[in-house]
Amino acid sequence: MLVTPTLLLAGCERTLNALLARDPAAPARLAALAGSRLLVRLEQPHLALVIHYHYAGLDLMRGDDVDETDVDAVVELTPETFSEWISGASIERLMFDGKLAVRGRIHLLEATRDLLFDLDIDWESELARWLGDMPAHSLAEGLRRTARWGLRAKDELMQDVSEYVFEEARLLPGPQQRSLLREHLTELEVATDRLEARLNRLQRRLEQLQPAPQESRP
């Protein structure tokens, strides 16, 4: 249906702009990008997308009919390259590997990644808009305390489980036991080596002590 991609783009644009509005670092990044246009061509599924930056966020538009001269940079990539790019792979390395084709202002790509994937959302300020400063701060403090307690509880649980498995129930060898076992095995290996060397030496001495066979006379 004709309007479906437009509807999806509208949804993505709204979500991204809402997130950018809550990132304290976004206004400075957007100011540096304002007025720039980036054309992204994805190979599979075949998709052309124009990202237009302005001071308040970005506009997403379909870019099927867009001429390359009308944009500041064009990037062509596959879904695999896209996932490598957003996970922080160097753009230069992707370009040298032949996975990424970029024409125009290459730094737009770096700036786009910083803007969209380095979001640090200020949830407390958004909560304050809805609840007021004090309740929002109390709620945020409560959430932070819960998160800290959750992390501590997780660490303690892991510690308890490992103690039970390794020390009490002895279901698995612990790191100390593994290292002790390794030391014993090394000692055993050295001892067997020595024993082998002594046996060899004994063998040689026995051979030396045995009288040489007498030559028979005619």
């Binding site: 309007v3 509208a10 867009v66």
Partner: protein, 251 residues
């Protein structure tokens, strides 16, 4: 024509003297201006935003362009265009109705739009701009309210730069008979009631439904645009033809 005979035109399903239509349409929009956006969302279930987005995509507006948004009303298209043209470009929001223009200006200012937007109260039939002034002209849900549509299209073609695009987003004729029947029921029964409840003005929304039926269908409007001097005219039916987006280029 004898001087006693008066030329008439349609105002919904009524025939009114030509010089009366503009003031009657003005009354309709004065009445609904304050609740215009809410009613649009309610009546179209929000789909009018998608239709407008598609218009913006098809407009191909770039930084530095000059854009004229005729019958721009509450400034939905202007808001987006002002960002796309950037500080080097210019968007003119034109509307014949002062109330709509005021609502649009307030809304745009609330959204931080300023430097590159101008507001002009103008009649689409005689646009107060020099020839070849704009890279793109849009008229969204406005052409059916114009008294002399041919004159308006000629005027738009005149102020368009060579190579510029005119986009007309307007209600049209649904291409499915079943949908057409359901759409009639909705327009003539439900719409005036919604108008009465939300905007406190059922008659204005009755006019809206009637004016949609009186508006030329897709092919007729295409021919009118070609007659006005536009070329490569094409149209896209949206939501089964309830709305059509016509695009023509001045060569």
């Amino acid at each position: 024509m004898s001087p006693t005979e008066k030329r008439t035109t349609d105002f919904g399903f009524q025939e009114v003297p030509v010089d009366e239509k503009a003031s009657r349409v003005a009354d309709v929009f004065h009445s609904v201006a304050a609740r215009y956006d809410v009613m649009n969302d309610l009546m179209s279930m929000g789909i009018h935003r998608v239709w407008k987005r598609l218009t913006i995509e098809r407009a191909g507006v770039r930084p530095g362009h000059h854009v004229l948004d005729i019958a721009g009303g509450t400034g939905d298209l202007t808001l987006k265009f002002s960002r796309l043209v950037g500080p080097r470009g210019k968007v003119v929001l034109a509307d014949i109705n002062a109330s709509m223009l005021k609502v649009g200006r307030d809304k745009l200012m609330d959204n931080g739009v300023g430097g590159n937007v101008e507001y002009v109260q103008a009649n689409a039939e005689s646009l107060p701009f020099p020839d070849n002034s704009f890279d793109c002209i849009t008229i969204a849900f406005g052409l059916r309210n114009v008294t002399d549509k041919d004159a308006a299209l000629r005027s738009m073609a005149r102020v368009l730069k060579p190579g510029g695009r005119l986009l007309v987003l307007e209600f049209s004729k649904p291409n499915n008979p079943l949908l057409s029947k359901a759409y009639d029921e909705y327009s003539f029964r439900l719409l005036p009631k919604m108008g009465e409840l939300v905007a406190g003005d059922g008659d204005s929304y009755r006019y809206l439904a009637e004016s949609i039926r009186m508006h030329p269908d897709q092919e007729t409007l295409k021919a009118m645009m070609e007659e006005a001097g536009l070329e490569r005219v094409e149209y896209t039916n949206l939501t089964c033809g309830i709305v059509a987006l016509h695009r023509g280029i001045k060569l």
